[in-house]
């Protein structure tokens, strides 16, 4: 029989629904508020209980089986009792090189086995986007009294986190709002000529005044002068390519949506940065939130969107809090909402928190996630510019892509296009981590070679020799030290059979067990496959199994190649298409699997 909700469960859901700009009255709220409502429940009581889910379903008029299907899709929405404080300890590619196993041992010793239900527990986690400070963790914290996002701490070094835990037993772990949590060595060194990173460390991310004093909102003013068509012309002329991994021309996307007859149009900023090794968008959002908001406003103005969603990774509570604060400030100053800047157009931004699912960074899965469904990708075609969110023409842009638009509008597309190379204009953020002297976020002009980038990062950790570099994250490919003069451009990497992806550069030295890294990558894809299509759902499992046998000395290279091909050819979406790339590339380069017995 259906479990009845308790008072705390009722209160959590009802308070959320009452807090909406348009509070739900007697009528059931729209389905797209399901994920936020489930988040509210977990923030309050720590899990999606049967009674809580039933109450959500009663308010929304959604069948419990469907809502359970949605909740059980997301790692951060447990459907079984879980401790109110959960340390999600990253054991992904970079963190495992930095001692994630030792961290796990300490956590187990202090807190007991993973996944307990006492006051504090821990769970191994895929990349939490803090590879510059590996080993890292993020803390999910819930209780009925203090259930706001800023009660969650960001990726903190686990040692400090444990000290905090030991000293104050799960009390306030939040970072102060102004602390810089991403390592950006160029900023620390006062480097000149930075573009995307130029405000970081110099402009208070909590102050709209500060932002405007530093030239903020000049770009929107200029955009309004140019008009929507003028803005799109500049973006097209800039030859800006998407920075989220797919490298699609932004201008083409914008003009497709701008000219789409169906209304309304939607803008989505894809801030579900989850590719292992990536932390660039987190830096921009935490340290320069107004820039993203201004850029989104320009994008909305140019493409005829009045409504936009900013889908932030669930593991990024500080970014979420800072963006939330910045959006409120902008609304207050007439920079968001009705009649923006008095220029006669409306535009607003709604933040959505992800639920802990890498696949939701895939744009069509993201639509389903926002709409309140399981984050399963859709078929393409139709393409998002034609039928995207709620079936309407939708622009989806990555955070870094959008922030580039500010300078494009200010200096003009052709001027922007003089930076970089023919096929890759502007600058690019690279997340450099692993065996380097100064891991962190770097901004370089396209065309900079991999060697030059690694030199900026101080080169390989002293006393070690480089074995390989992983470009593009778990969905990326390996590059060997002989290829360090590879220019970092979309075209050169494509020609080399690699890809820049989201800008991940992980360096492995000769002490790193690459087989262990590849097994983790295989486990990552198995864990993050949505399960919808057979090639990916089963293929990622078979890949992991065959890789285990290969590492144990088995002759599995041919089978792994076939599995990778099958996933790459027949899967629905990019996750399946790329799930075998890293293994395939490591085998091709002889980084694993050569010389084993049998």
């Amino acid at each position: 029989m259906a479990a009845a909700p308790g008072a705390a469960e009722r209160e959590a859901v009802d308070a959320f629904l009452a807090s909406l700009a348009e509070p739900a009255g007697e009528m059931p709220p729209p389905r797209h508020l399901l994920l936020p409502a489930l988040h509210a429940l977990v923030d309050a009581i720590g899990w999606v209980s049967e009674g809580g889910l039933n109450h959500v379903c009663e308010r929304f008029g959604i069948p419990p089986a469907e809502a359970y299907g949605v909740a059980s899709f997301y790692a951060l929405l447990p459907t079984e009792p879980r401790a109110p404080v959960v340390i999600h300890a990253c054991d992904d590619i970079v963190c495992r090189m930095a001692g994630a196993h030792r961290v796990a041992a300490v956590l187990e010793e202090v807190l007991g086995p993973a996944g307990g239900t006492d006051a504090v527990t821990w769970l191994p986690s895929p990349c939490v986007g803090a590879c510059d400070r590996a080993p890292a963790a993020f803390v999910q914290r819930s209780n009925a009294e203090n259930a706001t996002v800023d009660s969650l701490a960001p990726g903190l070094p686990v040692e400090r986190l444990l000290a905090d835990l030991a000293g104050r037993e799960g009390t306030d772990l939040a970072l102060p709002l102004r602390s810089g949590s991403v390592r950006i060595p160029q900023v620390e060194d006062g480097a000149q000529g930075l573009r995307l990173l130029r405000r970081i460390g110099r402009v208070d991310p909590a102050s709209l005044d500060d932002y405007q004093a530093a030239g903020g909102y000049d770009a929107l003013r200029r955009a309004i002068d140019l008009g929507p068509a003028g803005v799109i012309r500049e973006v097209t002329d800039s030859r800006l390519m998407g920075r989220g991994g797919a490298a699609f021309p932004a201008g083409r996307k914008w003009s497709a949506v701008a000219s789409a007859p169906a209304r309304p149009h939607f803008l989505i900023c894809n801030a579900d940065e989850s590719e292992p090794g990536t932390f660039k968008d987190r830096a921009l959002m935490e340290e320069d939130p107004f820039a993203l908001i201004e850029a989104m406003t320009i994008a909305g103005f140019a493409t005829g969107c009045e409504k936009s969603y900013l889908y932030v990774r669930g593991e990024y509570p500080v970014a979420t809090a800072r963006l939330d604060h910045a959006i409120r400030e902008c609304r207050h100053q007439g920079l968001l909402g009705a009649n923006v800047m008095g220029a006669g157009f409306d535009f607003d931004i709604e933040i959505r928190r992800g639920g802990g699912a890498y696949i939701c960074g895939e744009e069509t899965a993201l639509f389903n996630s926002i709409e309140g469904f399981r984050g399963e990708p859709r078929n393409k075609p139709p393409f998002p510019t034609d039928r995207g969110l709620f079936g309407k023409p939708t622009v989806v842009n990555n955070v870094e892509t959008l922030v580039n638009v500010l300078d494009i509008v200010l200096e003009g597309g052709p001027a922007f296009a003089t930076l970089g190379t023919e096929g890759s204009t502007g600058t690019k953020l690279f997340c450099v981590s692993g065996s380097v002297t100064r891991p962190g976020l770097y901004e370089v002009t396209f065309g900079t070679t991999l060697r030059q980038l690694l030199d900026l990062a101080g080169g390989v950790t002293s006393g070690r020799r480089m074995k390989a570099v992983l470009l593009g994250g778990a969905a990326g490919t390996f590059v060997t030290p002989e290829r360090l003069d590879l220019p970092l451009t979309f075209e050169a990497t494509r020609e080399a059979g690699a890809a820049l992806g989201s800008g991940v550069v992980v360096v492995f030295d000769d002490t790193v067990d690459l087989a262990d890294i590849l097994l983790r990558i295989a486990a990552f894809f198995r864990h993050e496959s949505c399960g919808q299509c057979v090639p990916c759902r089963v293929g990622t499992v078979r890949q992991e199994e065959a890789l285990e046998r290969l590492v144990a000395g088995g002759n599995e290279a041919a089978l792994l190649e076939e599995i990778a091909r099958g996933m790459g050819d027949a899967s629905i979406c990019g996750l399946g298409h790329t799930a075998g790339l890293a293994v395939r590339s490591a085998l091709g380069l002889g980084l694993i699997g050569n010389g084993g017995p049998r």
Binding site: A357, G531, Q532, P535, V538, G566, I572
Partner: protein, 314 residues
């Protein structure tokens, strides 16, 4: 669907395996393949449901498309150049069939599946004896039907039939993620505790025998299920005035399950609890239909739950 296609009158010309094919505008590549009599394997596809293209066994190669595309859902476009028998297509179909057969019990799947496995050279054994599978005990929770998810390929058809495409009951949905994705009620509550209304339409669309009449399940366990001894009699359901066609599957003069033809205007294969399961009165007083027919008195004690309720009507 087909009526809508014919109404339009316009056609799309494309090439499949080097042959010119013309299909009505809006037709899928699968329809085009079938029109051209090109055999195309399908598992998650059913004529009466919207294509979900999750199994990927119907993938074909379309010139200019980086990945293969599912024939079942991709509309034919003018000038498309399609290959259904290229090395890539054959390889992907082989892999999909191997992936399924190495992780799911396909013993009750249609015989054509085994034919495709042969056609494409699928060898599920090569994933080793310990390849992870979805093996699990069957869920026997009532007298009407059994859910044996060790046979589930996650084709989503039961969810569609339970939801907007037929029954609008929403008792089941896909839950979990990745290899842990599964068909489930909320919190895996039993069917009697769920919203299930026992229309059995999920059984009607299941391609692999994961959803199965309790009668068939019991008879298979007892070794008495024998389709060669079965006949199918079409009749009209007598419970109400809608006029649903019923196909009574009869073995040894006893009804053993009831289906409805997919192409029937009224049902599209779907029924309600009465039409699907309410036939015990027909054979009230006859011997146990699930028991060994020739000597019902010697039927072994069922260890898999209570026998169907078949109290005599008198």
């Amino acid at each position: 669907m087909s009526a809508a296609l014919e109404a339009n009158g316009r056609t799309v010309a494309l090439t499949i395996d080097g042959r010119d094919v013309a299909v009505p505008e809006g037709a899928t590549l699968l329809m085009a393949c079938r029109a051209a009599e090109i055999a195309t394997p399908t598992l998650c596809f059913l004529e009466t449901l919207a294509p979900v293209n999750t199994c990927r066994v119907c993938v074909v190669e379309v010139e200019g498309s980086r990945a293969l595309v599912p024939a079942c859902s991709r509309p034919a476009e003018p000038g498309m150049v399609v290959s259904t028998d290229s090395e890539r297509v054959r390889h992907s179909r082989k892999m999909v069939l191997e992936f399924l057969a190495s992780s799911v019990d396909m013993s009750l799947a249609g015989t054509e599946i085994h034919g495709w496995m042969e056609t494409y050279g699928a060898n599920p054994g090569r994933y080793g004896p310990v390849a992870e599978s979805v093996a699990q005990p069957p869920k026997v929770q009532d007298d009407l039907y059994v859910r044996d998810y060790s046979k589930c390929i996650l084709c989503y058809k039961c969810v569609q039939a339970c939801g907007v495409e037929a029954q609008n009951t929403f008792a089941i949905a896909v839950a979990g993620r990745g290899f842990d994705a599964r068909i489930s009620t909320e919190f895996d509550v039993t069917l009697p505790d769920s919203a299930c209304v026992y229309c059995g339409n999920c059984i009607g669309v299941c391609p692999t025998g994961a959803l199965i009449f309790k009668t068939e399940f019991d008879m298979r366990r007892q070794g008495t299920w024998d389709e060669s001894r079965q006949s199918v009699t079409r009749t009209v359901c007598a419970y109400c005035g809608v006029g649903c066609n019923l196909d009574l599957h009869v073995q040894d003069n006893r009804i053993v399950k009831v289906t409805s033809p997919l192409d029937h205007d009224v049902t599209s294969g779907h029924l309600c609890i009465k039409g699907r399961f309410g036939w015990q009165h027909v054979q009230a007083g006859l011997d146990d239909p699930a028991g060994p027919a020739p000597a019902p008195d010697t039927a072994p004690g069922s260890s898999s739950g209570s026998p169907p309720d078949r109290r005599p009507a008198s």
